[in-house]
Amino acid sequence: MSESLRKILAGAVTVGLAIVVVVGIVIGDSTPQDRVQALGSSIKCPVCQGEAIADSPSETATAMMDVVAEKVEEGLSDDQVFEYFRVRYGDGILLDPRFEAKTLLLWLLPLAAVGLGVVMILRRRQAPAPTVSGEELS
């Protein structure tokens, strides 16, 4: 087999494999998402420490999971289910904080950290005439 033919074949195999992977992911999720389970993992178990009701074997959590299942059955949307629990237990019951005034910093600080880091790295590149000294960057 000639060298160029081998190269083409190898390239084709690589591209073919990549296509299978990408198409597989895009066609997507063959595992049916259990909505009750997904909702339950965003609701905090009030009698446990930092556990979601989907994870906790405690009686309270099991009972709350039953309520979630009931609400899903009734046709409530995700937000409606969350709202149902938020009204009864307070904001602390939701493990996935929403983007609002009091969680502003929670969401913005990580972004700011990424931005700062990227700027610091970019400025570390060899500048034609170094105007900034190393210690200021750190």
Partner: protein, 678 residues
């Protein structure tokens, strides 16, 4: 007697730590004015005191000496041997005794290593002084507000009613104690997990002490990094092992089928790990290229501060409620210590950094250094996110009084993309040349591994796994591993060709010729396996709840589950209620025995799940209820979850590869040059 001996140990350690601190701080500027004899006395006194305190506590526990309040309140005559030992560090005061012991042992190792120098080395003696100061603080805690040797002066029927701080007070010992928390005496891993974690935490004191010593002395260069490399790696390995074993304990004991919940206590151990990992990588850059000098000081200060923050979070009660932490004086004491550390070391950094840092600039972002920078950015941002997510609810509650939950969905959303980026950096970094990398060189090194990774991903898709994270996880993990294996293969076969020996004999020789590099690569393989384990088990796992009567059979995830009978067993410290359940899968039958354990003086039973582990995965049964002729079970199927434990243990163990495997004096292979060039 126990109290008196133990307290004497604490006082002896305090006195020695004080002397060591004085000698160290004096010696770092005037080494000739410090005699080695005095240093030795201080260090040995420290060791004797710390050892005595620990020994007294452990012997007191084994002998059921309930005249010591800590023992009366946390142990019982019926507690099994292993858990009696483990009770020595199961509660606040005892855990600080263990902390002190580990700190003292690390101080001793630093001192013993320092004797290799003929003259007293000011950097080393300064570091010993800093360690003396830190040790003084912890033994000071034990002597005052966290005294493990309080004497019980008024006994309750079980446990202690009133205590005295005076070690020679007339004791009145209760006849029995309540025993350890049921969760902590349900599985032997709990005896192992805290010491591993503490060795990891406390070990970070060594590079911190050297960094501070170097800062005070204004000593530039990578000397302090090179000289503390062994301790950093030991601490990192133990921290890794501690976290992994903690996850395994959670999986084996808590019965919820999970191993990681992003709860504040777990985060407390994960944050220092992330920053320590960044530090290990960035210190390589400084040692090889002289860059990032200032950054390394920041990282080591951050790592040490995060270990103190972690202890504060776990020990102050602040997690349960912001307002409960002032109930015990330990919370404020740790918080003050953290403030002193932060303010002290950062102002030292700000005033001295011009003496120690002079960084050459980056030649190109497309280089090993560039990938190291990316790695550091990802790891520190990761740590920062975990920090914010952990502390934010506490601040929110303290400021506005309103509760706010930050849990798994928040952390997962940010952690998953960062983890994928880290895997990518892990695949590219080790084969990217320093200074300036040409694209063709990198492509040559990743071309075939990329094909292998894509083939693995395509395989996963064709086997019916279409979940994006799972497929990407398999591709990324396989990519990292095959890049490393290819590098080993190519390096070894080049060396073999040069010497005319078979390739397989060159593998070990290649790895031995550059233990630092290859130890890191083994660790990377471990992390890649762990990542694949997480991706697969989290996305292909399944669970259900069953209620079964004897003889009844149910089907789940290709398994046939039959409830045979229940059983009951009286053990010294607990009553065990269990169910025998037969599980059949493609002709193989096993009998699993999930149990519920009832401990004396505890209303809630603790589950012991029963797991059938095979290469395909774990079939996990957790008993949630038994009685009325029926059992209720939580049933989980976790494919390939063993990858997490195998990968985690490999990553931890490989951290010490370069300490155990020593580079031979002269290896006549091309291997070394090759690794130099990569």
């Amino acid at each position: 007697m126990t109290a008196l001996a133990g307290y004497f140990g604490i006082v002896l350690a305090m006195a020695s730590a004080f002397v060591l601190a004085l000698l160290g701080l004096r010696g770092m500027h005037h080494p000739h004015r410090v005699s080695r004899r005095h240093l030795e006395l201080a260090v040995f006194g420290l060791m004797a005191g710390g050892g005595l305190a620990f020994l007294a506590l452990e012997l007191g526990l084994l002998a059921d000496d309930f005249s010591v309040a800590y023992i009366a309140d946390h142990s019982a005559t019926t507690t099994p041997f292993v858990y009696k030992l483990a009770t020595g560090w199961a509660a606040l005061e005892g855990s600080i005794v263990l902390w002190g012991l580990v700190l003292v042992v690390f101080t001793l190792t630093v001192y013993l290593r320092s004797r290799r120098d003929k003259e007293i080395n000011p950097l080393w003696v300064g570091a010993l002084g800093i360690m003396g100061l830190i040790t003084l603080y912890f033994f000071g805690l034990m002597a005052t507000i966290a005294n493990p040797f309080q004497v019980c002066v008024e006994a309750a029927s079980i446990g202690c009613l009133e205590t005295s701080n005076v070690p020679w007070a007339t004791a009145m010992a209760p006849l029995e104690g309540p025993g350890p928390n049921p969760l902590l005496q349900n599985h032997p891993l709990m005896a192992v997990h805290p010491p591993l974690l503490y060795i990891g935490y406390v070990g970070m004191t060594v590079p911190f002490a050297f960094a501070i010593s170097a800062l005070i002395r204004g000593e530039s260069g990578a000397g302090w990094l090179r000289q503390t490399r062994s301790w950093t790696l030991v601490a990192w390995s133990f921290l890794t092992a501690g976290i992994v074993i903690g996850g395994l304990w959670s999986y084996e004991v808590l019965g919820w089928g999970g191993y990681w919940a992003w709860d504040p206590v777990e985060n407390a151990s994960f944050m220092p790990w992330l920053v320590a990992t960044a530090f290990i990588h960035s210190s390589v850059v400084q040692q090889r290229r002289g860059m990032l000098q200032a950054w390394n000081f920041i990282l080591v200060i951050a790592t040490f501060s995060l270990t103190i923050l972690g202890t504060f979070l776990t020990r102050s009660g602040i997690i349960a409620s912001v307002h409960s932490f002032t109930q015990s004086p330990i919370g404020p004491a740790l918080l003050w210590f953290l403030m002193v550390i932060l303010v002290g070391s950062l102002s030292l950094f700000a005033t001295r950094i011009h003496l120690v840092a002079s960084s050459p600039r980056l030649t190109s972002l497309a280089s090993r250094e560039g990938v190291f920078l990316l790695n550091n950015l990802l790891l520190t941002v990761f740590a920062f996110i975990v920090l914010i997510g952990t502390l934010y609810p506490m601040f929110a509650e303290a400021v506005s009084g309103s509760q706010l939950g930050v849990g798994r969905p928040f952390f997962d959303r940010l952690a998953i993309p960062i983890s994928f980026a880290l895997l990518l950096a892990m695949g590219l970094g080790p084969i990217t040349p320093f200074r300036q990398a040409r694209g063709s060189v990198v492509w040559e090194r990743i071309r075939n591994p990329l094909r292998v990774a894509l083939a693995a991903g395509a395989g996963a898709v064709l086997f019916g796994n279409r979940d994006g994270y799972l497929v990407l996880g398999v591709v990324a993990g396989t990519f990292v591993i095959s890049v490393i294996l290819r590098q080993l293969w190519v390096t070894a076969s080049r060396a073999a060709a040069k010497q005319g020996t078979p390739v397989w004999r060159s593998f070990w020789r290649t790895m031995r010729s550059d233990p630092g590099y290859w130890g890191g690569q083994l660790s990377h393989i471990g992390v890649a396996l762990l990542a694949m384990g997480i991706a697969i088990s989290a996305n292909q796992g399944a669970d259900t709840q069953l209620v079964l009567e004897p003889g009844q059979t149910a089907q789940f995830a290709g398994h046939e589950i039959t409830y045979l009978e229940d059983f009951e067993r009286d053990e010294v410290n607990r009553l065990v209620l269990g169910a025998r359940v037969e599980v059949t899968h493609s002709g193989n039958t096993v009998v699993l025995e999930p149990r519920l354990n009832r401990y004396a003086r505890s209303s809630q039973p603790v589950a012991t799940p029963s797991v059938d582990t095979s290469l395909r995965g774990d079939f996990y049964l957790s008993l949630t209820g038994i009685g009325g002729g029926r059992i209720s079970l939580d049933v989980f199927w976790f494919p390939f979850i063993w990858l997490i434990w195998v990968g985690g243990v490999l990553a931890a163990a490989a951290g010490m590869f370069s300490l155990i495997v020593k580079k031979p004096a002269r290896v006549a292979t091309g291997a070394e040059e090759e690794s130099e060039r990569v």
